[in-house]
Amino acid sequence: MDQAIVACSTPPGRGAISVVRISGREAKSIIDNLFSLEFDHGTSKVAETNLSEGFNEKCLISCFEGPSSYTGEDVAEISCHGNPLIVRALIQKCIELGARNANPGEFTQRAFLNNKIDLAQSEAVIDLINASSSAAIVAASKSVSGNFGENVDKILESLRKIRILVESSIDFSDQDTNIDFMQINALFKDFRRHLEDFDKKIEEGIRIMSEHRVVVAGPPNVGKSSIMNILSGEEASIVTEIKGTTRDPIYKKIQIKDLQADIYDTAGINEETVDEIEKLGIDKSRSLIEGADLILEVVDAENMDFSLKKDGNILKVFNKSDISSPPQGFEGIVVSALEKKNISALEEKIYELLSSGGSDALFSARERHRNLVKKAFKEIDSCPGPIDVKNVDIAAEHLKLADIFLGDIKSPMSADDFLGEIFSSFCIGK
């Protein structure tokens, strides 16, 4: 076991409870020293420790003996009162007793190095922490428990079936193995379909993990900024009655029920403007609109013929219902930002549109996975086809490379730099 590491595993700041986590060689002796406690696996006990003269802190200590712990080492989790000063004093005590400060992600890194989880699972742990919707949480937790890894294994298995036949046709040609190229090509087709399917699942797994992006767009001065301010509950955008006040896109986080999203205010799209700076702002708005998961197209009575002329997830919002009414047959949500009328209906609709179709992700995934699958795809698609006696040597090369790329999803051999990257994207204490 390595030298113990210690860190606060709950967010910094004041709260009801903070958790200080210790993992490693000295965990047992630290607990013994601090609390005079026996280190019993799987138990939680209340005990006191003296942190400064005249101050005893009462804590709850949970003990997990390695290898049956998160990191695979001896782990103790100390729940104390959520005061940064108490937390600091507790960590200081641990360091005096032989631990050192943990680096970001070091607990999970140790779990990985101790073979408790594979790389894809480590990545999923971060995803689980950062998940911003319940669907994302479900997907990430599926990955943590190995769902994603199993899918990778299945894909690899079906690739290896082909490779065994292809390689046998080369290495055992002097024996009556009778390799059937029809069978190879049939399996190849199956595999390609599986890979395509897997690629889609990965897309979905990435999509579900990505932050939702809501963009508020529309002509100038229809009250886009006011709507955003109401939704985010903060005065983020400067609201004036002058056209083109919002030049740089501004975003805020909004939370509707269990769903988190980034909401972007954009410059009003004023086609007639001659102001260079305003024009730049409009360009930015357009590119934001391109990447949006949901567009709130805001209009008022004076701008009813405005349209982004775009397909996709668009919600029409009619503002200023306090001074006007939408025309007959208006399809969308009618609100008054000024009087904060019908805002909850707007929120409800946003929630509905953002969470639709997102719950069937089988696992969470990342860009790195997608890139490896794309690389494997490239090999499969440049494989000569149909595979026959004449091209089997070349086909074998492509299949081998595809195998290497797909294998890299779970094992980190071909790129060594991303390892550090992965673990440093954790917060300290995880």
Binding site: D2, E167, I170, D171, F172, S173, Q175, E397
Partner: protein, 630 residues
């Protein structure tokens, strides 16, 4: 009698080892039980085959003896995979056993620095974990600086036919029991393997009329780069027959009398070349297995039915053989048997094949867990060369897996070890398109020459070929097909090129070959081997470039060097089990560590992180050091 190097054993490993050491110019003694069995082919009378021929060509490129002896004995030659790409084509020769043996014996006799001694080695002189002599017979002590042990299946060899078994290394030859005992005392990790042979049949008792004939290839390939067809003796055909349901019935009925199935044999046999009882038992739905009928030699009365190796009792062998088409009245002259023997865990060897435990002692061949003449000879070459180089105080010669099957073989053995008899396959190499039969000389000869393995005359021939290729390529790179050359491209039946394209680039197209292009351009076609080399390299060029890039990338990423005597206990996150495994193999690079069975990706990452950090720290220190100096 004194020698600098002693080679024990006169099989394919021993012969190649002795010849290599002698070629480098070191006084060598080869000790064998009987002079007349030197170079004996104990199993099937064939050399080469997919993967194996790649090794033979590499041995030849280092001026080893196997290929040219095989050519002198080749009575039937074929190129396997001939309809597939050049990288996987493989030459196979049926060899006349007598001619092969005689040819090897002649080669060895002609070597200046080599002496051959008949006798049984009974003991080693080992002091302070270093070998210095061997005892022959009762008490004759021979001193040597290096000893190469190539005892094949003779260590504790046991022969099985049915429920009978007796000690022996091969039918008619004793096993080396004393030596095995001595070696077991040295604390080498020892395992048991088994291999088998089929019954031999008198050729006059076979009904040839009804058998399918297979002729050798025309034009006839050669094994050695330097041979031409005139070296080959008379050519004869091979024949094919098959087992049938009756055969299978007989064998299944007698399985309880098989030493394999009754548990008498503990050794693990090769999955790739199973006994007939094994094949029938494992592939129950296969109604028939092919038997390749190989002639034992031009003057031999025997044939070798390849595909029915067995250790079933004699009466069962008679019965099932006679159930096979063409063998109805077959006369078995020697029954099939299984051999079980000791081997030592090759992970206890350096890349030079010197043992880690005993300095100056080398192991080569089946003793390291391999099967096959070619695999044995390849190790003999490497062990012999390195023993000689080490004696001379020179750097070792360790071909890498990126440049040769020799490297793949040695690296696999010392890194992975083996659980079953190891044989070469092209799929064991990551760089199959580069490691071809046809370019073995381009890959090996230059380096082998530099360590003294290659004769001046061979090197001259090699250099001439190399220069011819360079000159021809230069010429073809400057020969262009231009959009206005309508006559040329229409005769090639291709579209008008968009811009001037060189002859060399046109060769990359799968629909054009050298001959057609030469005709269209009205240029002379160079020698076949030159054409083949250029054509193949051009055709594969895109892939070769990629493989080269891959090799480079791998070298950079994975060939992070692990210092010798590296203390794995310093690396965070390695389990005791993994630390032990790594310490046993002592991998030289990260890539090698990665291939050790049981090493987890996480362990590799931990090692990678550790080495990277150390590298950076060392670099920092160096940088600081140099600043101070300046």
């Amino acid at each position: 009698m004194k020698a600098d190097i002693i080679v024990i054993g006169g099989g394919h490993a021993g012969c190649e080892a002795a010849a290599a050491a002698a070629r480098i110019g070191v006084k060598t003694i080869l000790i064998t039980h009987k002079f007349e069995t030197i170079g004996q082919m104990s199993c099937n009378p064939a050399i080469g085959g997919v993967g194996k021929s790649h090794l033979v060509k590499e041995i030849d490129a280092a001026d080893g003896i196997m290929a040219r002896c095989a050519d002198r004995a080749a009575i039937h030659l074929k190129v396997l995979n001939s309809s597939k790409g050049p990288a996987v084509r493989a030459t196979r020769a049926q060899a006349d056993r007598e001619l092969y043996k005689k040819s090897v014996q002649k080669e060895l006799k002609n070597l200046e620095n080599l002496e051959i001694v008949e006798g049984e080695v009974t003991d080693f002189g080992i002091q302070n974990n270093q070998i210095g002599s061997v005892t022959v017979g009762e008490s004759k002590i021979l001193k040597a600086q290096k000893v190469i042990l190539t005892t094949g299946t003779f260590l504790n060899g046991k022969l099985f036919t049915g429920m009978d078994n007796n000690e022996g290394g091969r039918v008619g030859d004793n096993s080396s029991k004393k030596l095995a005992e001595k070696l077991r005392n040295i604390d080498f990790s020892v395992g048991r393997l088994k291999t088998g042979t089929p019954p031999r049949i008198h050729k006059d008792s076979i009904n040839w009329e009804i058998l399918e004939e297979q002729k050798g290839d025309v034009p006839r390939p050669t094994i050695s780069f330097l041979s031409d067809q005139s070296i080959h003796p008379k050519q004869v055909p091979c024949f094919i027959t098959r087992t049938n349901e009756k055969t299978h019935e007989i064998i299944i009925g007698d399985l309880d009398r098989s030493p394999m199935f009754s548990g008498k044999i503990e050794g693990i046999g090769p999955r790739y070349c199973p006994s007939i009882e094994d094949k029938i038992f494992r592939f129950k739905d296969k109604k028939s297995h092919q038997i390749f009928i190989e002639p034992e030699g031009l003057n031999s009365d025997l044939i070798y039915p390849n595909g029915i190796s067995t250790s079933l009792p004699k009466d069962c062998q008679e019965k099932f053989v006679r159930s096979i088409e063409g063998f109805e009245s077959a006369k078995i002259t020697q029954y099939g048997y299984a051999v079980e023997y000791d081997f030592f865990d090759p992970r206890e060897l350096h890349e030079t094949l010197e043992t880690r435990k005993i300095k100056n002692l080398y192991f080569a061949g089946q003793i390291n867990g391999t099967t096959g003449y070619e695999e044995a000879a390849a190790q003999g070459l490497v062990a012999g060369a390195n023993a000689a180089l080490s004696f001379l105080g020179k750097d070792p010669w360790t071909p890498s897996r990126e440049e040769s099957y020799l490297g793949v073989l040695i690296d696999d053995l010392v890194t992975l070890g083996t659980k079953e008899p190891y044989r070469m396959f092209t799929s064991r190499s990551e760089h199959r398109l580069i490691l071809r039969e046809d370019n073995a000389d381009q890959r090996i000869t230059e380096k082998a020459y530099r360590v003294g393995l290659v004769s001046e005359s061979r090197y001259k021939i090699f250099s001439e070929k190399k220069n011819k290729i360079i000159k021809e390529k230069d010429k073809l790179a400057k020969l262009f097909l231009r959009p206005e050359d309508e006559k040329i491209y229409s005769s090639l039946k291709i579209k008008e090129p968009k811009s001037a394209t060189s002859f060399l680039d046109l060769l990359k197209r799968p629909d054009l070959d050298f001959q057609d292009l030469a005709k269209a351009f009205s240029i002379e076609t160079p020698d076949n081997d030159i054409v083949f080399d250029i054509e193949t390299n051009q055709r594969y060029s895109g892939y070769i470039k990629r493989q080269m890039d891959e090799i480079e990338k791998m070298k950079k990423n994975r060939n992070a060097h692990i210092p010798s005597n590296f203390d794995y206990s310093n690396v965070k996150g390695l389990s005791a089990e993994i630390t032990q495994k790594l310490s046993k193999v002592e991998p030289k690079t990260l890539a090698q560590a990665w291939r050790i069975p049981g090493i987890t990706p996480a362990a590799i990452s931990a090692l990678m992180v550790y080495l990277k950090r150390n590298e950076t720290e060392t670099a920092d220190k160096n940088a600081r050091g140099s600043t101070r100096e300046s």
